[in-house]
């Protein structure tokens, strides 16, 4: 007995040692810590901006713009996180769907009769109609890509890496199609149309279009939430994301769920593209630039969790905009990347993801 005591004791002491370290590690890797870290990052960005000579109203405006950019990012990120949840692979082609939505709406709008400008916004009814029409069009493209590329791989139980490679191929295919059809130059929905900023209380300057973009994003996100929470298809989607095999056993037609996931994701991506195009301009790489913030938002919120993706998107949108007060705005996606690394290091499951793997 006494011979066993010593090793036991040693193990016991070592375990005690480890618990102290583990406790700190666990505390650092908890969700609260992640939330605090992200909040501190935002605060640090604010302070850095103030140090660089940005006034309080500048920073407030940037924050409000950040929330609006977050609205756009969240539209893409919801689709990304749903596809990730249901199909279990990172869809690198999602950015191309965003671009496709923006350009598709551009072409559709050019066929529609131009209505009067809806003051105080800079666009007319035709753009909203074009956006509504572009959403099913992009969904159709996503369904075709799924049928041609992803479904055969799914049938074969291909590895995650092959699916990711396939999505990369799809991304470059769609992007080259966009280049071929619309060319590499910038496009504007309404070239040269002025869009003066409104003066809000606290000296915040916001364009009416930005408010529209944000409100629309909120409406779409709310509709998505209703769809996921209140309809049978939404329930089936969540079940499939949770456990595909069990969902199938329980009589859920997974192929149909997957098709609807693509439709939902692509529609939201298309709407996000139109809004992004309205807020800045149309360029073939616009979706690719949004890809990193979208992934960061999806991972930050916990993969497969649409509500989390929205929170992540808003955090990233604010961080990107506020950071432009002290570094070159071109680094926006880089800021998203830094936040992504913070999340991955502290808590890869994200703010609202399922704990443990």
């Amino acid at each position: 007995m006494s011979t066993q005591d010593t090793p036991d004791d040693a193990v016991g002491r070592r375990r005690d040692d480890r618990t102290a370290r583990e406790r700190i590690g666990a505390a650092l890797r908890s969700r609260t810590a992640l939330g605090v870290a992200l909040l501190l990052t935002l605060v640090a960005f604010w302070i850095l901006g103030q140090r660089n000579g940005a006034s309080l109203s500048d920073l407030l405006s940037l924050t409000v713009w950040g929330v609006m950019l977050g609205g756009i990012i969240s539209l893409g990120a919801i689709g990304l996180t749903l596809v990730y949840g249901v199909l279990k692979f990172p869809n690198f082609a999602h950015g191309a769907l965003v671009t496709l939505g923006a350009y598709g709406a551009f072409t559709i709008a050019s066929f529609l009769p131009q209505g009067p400008i809806l003051l105080p916004f800079s666009f007319g009814w035709e753009l909203i109609a074009a956006m509504v029409l572009a959403m099913p069009a992009v969904s159709l493209v996503a369904l075709v890509v799924d049928r041609v590329l992803f479904r055969p791989l799914r049938r074969r139980d291909a590895s995650l890496v092959l699916l990711a490679m396939a999505s990369l191929a799809a991304a470059f295919f769609l992007r080259s199609s966009i280049y071929l059809i619309w060319g590499p130059d910038f496009l504007f929905y309404y070239p040269g149309r002025a869009n003066p900023a409104l003066q809000l209380p606290l000296d915040i300057r916001v364009q009416a279009d930005q408010i529209f973009v944000f409100v629309l994003a909120v409406i779409l996100v709310a509709l998505t939430w209703l769809l996921l929470e209140r309809t049978r298809m939404g329930k089936a989607m969540r079940a499939t994301a949770n456990n595909p095999d069990l969902a199938q056993v329980r009589g859920i037609n997974t192929e149909r769920v997957i098709a609807w996931t693509w439709v939902l994701g692509a529609s939201l991506a298309a709407a996000g593209g139109v809004m992004y195009g309205l807020a800045s301009q149309l360029r073939p790489e616009m979706g690719f630039w949004l890809l990193l913030p979208m992934f960061a938002a999806a991972i930050m919120g916990g993969l497969g969790n649409p509500l989390g993706a929205i929170v992540g998107a808003v955090i990233i949108g604010i961080a990107q905009q506020v950071s432009s007060s002290f570094i070159n705005p071109a680094y926006g996606p880089g800021v998203a990347f830094v936040l992504l690394v913070i999340v991955l290091v502290l808590q890869p499951q994200g703010l609202f993801g399922k704990g443990g793997e």
Partner: protein
């Protein structure tokens, strides 16, 4: 045979002999003999048989394909050996290229300094620049690998894609570092005095006479030898590595991570090591590229040219197979370059479809490469040459 062709043939001999060693069958001694004889014959026949312009094109094609082959080998040492999904090849390629450029160029002075800025310019020799490129890329790879390599494959793919973009943004926006977004010009070419009019002073007269008929435009004939040498060194090193105990350990980590860990292997350390090795090779490839094109800027390192196409090369050639990586590089670069001619010839037809199309013909090549990758993923994910799992000569044959 004219002296020009003879001099060109002498430059072709060495890369051809190395190629022969790579593809010919048989025992090493016999292979060497065969390769030397075959290379001598082909080196003489090619300049006689082909018009000079076409030969120059073929040589510059092979140089570029060789650089891509080095990249593809680097990726293979990460993906093929250990299973890292690195979608950020472009980042390490860029770090290598700009590092070597900074170490070997001269700091701009006088009037030039107003147009061109860089962090430093040390005027080191070419080889030192290449080594530094590898080392700095390896350091970058190491720093990145610490937070990221513990993660799942899909997170690694996203994170590396982000890293490459961030690196490209830095070279695009930081003027003080490497003159971004303007190109960094005047990266010295190694031994380019060989082809200058008063040739290098240290050259013996016989060699000077031999090279006299060649013009500076023929420099690429010499650079092909440089690329072939680097490619050979990288290839041999990787072949040796993948058969070493360390390489077998890497495969174990890739295929059965848990059982490797249970057998006392430090999985995280092994994964970091192979990521660093691959980053080093990609950095070297970047240096070789920078000294070849002489002037580099951030746009060279976009995800298409420097990440996506390298993945297509490796997937086509065969992941895990070093010969496959080289084969894939030449095949895909052949498709890419050949498509340019085809699209050029088809431009009247494109004109008929839409007047805008011919000027956008370049994007058809993207589409082609994307379709190629989709085809590989769908129909032959293991590539042309399969991975050779046999890692020991003492194991029974017939695997």
């Amino acid at each position: 045979m004219e002296p020009v062709d003879l001099a060109r043939a002498s430059f072709l001999f060495f890369p051809l002999a190395l190629l022969g060693m790579l593809v010919l069958p048989g025992r090493p001694a016999l292979r060497l003999l065969l390769a030397v004889v075959a290379a001598a014959i082909v080196a003489v026949v090619l300049p006689i048989w082909l018009p000079r312009g076409i030969l120059t094109y073929l040589v510059s094609f092979s140089t570029m394909a060789g650089i891509y082959a080095i990249l593809s080998l680097g990726l293979n040492s990460q993906w093929g050996l250990t299973g890292h999904v690195n979608f950020g090849v472009a980042g390490f390629f860029a770090v290598g290229a700009f590092t070597s450029a900074l170490f070997t160029t001269k700091m701009p002075e006088g009037a030039l300094a107003a147009y061109s800025q860089q962090a430093f310019g040390l005027e080191w020799p070419f080889l030192a620049g290449v080594v530094m490129a590898g080392i700095v890329a390896a350091i970058v790879g190491f720093l990145i690998s610490i937070p990221v390599l513990r993660l799942r494959t899909d997170f690694l793919a996203i994170a590396t894609l982000g890293i490459a973009e961030v690196i490209r943004f830095i070279f695009q926006n930081e003027r003080w570092l490497a003159n971004g977004p303007q190109p960094m010009r005047g990266i010295p070419r190694p031994l380019d005095c060989l082809f200058a009019d008063p040739a290098c002073s240290w050259l013996p007269q016989g060699v000077v006479n031999w090279l006299a008929p060649l013009s500076p435009r023929d420099y690429v004939f010499f650079y092909l030898i440089v690329v072939a040498l680097v490619l050979t060194v990288v290839y041999l090193a990787l072949e040796r590595i993948s058969r070493s105990p360390w390489g077998r350990m890497q495969r174990a980590v890739r295929d059965e991570e848990n059982s490797a860990a249970m057998n006392g292997k430090n999985v995280t350390a092994r994964r970091i090591e192979s990521f660093v090795v691959g980053s080093f090779i990609m950095g070297v490839a970047g240096a070789i590229y920078a000294h070849y094109v002489v002037s580099i800027d951030y746009s060279h390192f976009n995800p298409l040219f420097a990440t996506f196409i390298v993945w297509v090369m490796l997937m086509l050639g065969g992941s895990g197979n070093n010969k496959g990586a080289i084969l894939g590089a030449f095949a895909v670069w052949g498709v890419w370059s050949g498509a340019a001619f085809v699209i050029d010839m088809a431009s009247p037809a494109l004109q008929a479809i839409s007047p805008d199309l011919p000027s956008r013909g370049a994007y058809l090549r993207w589409m082609l490469v994307a379709i190629l990758l989709a085809g590989i993923v769908l129909f032959r994910p293991q590539g042309i040459l399969r991975e050779r799992k046999k890692v020991s000569d003492f194991m029974p044959k017939g695997d």
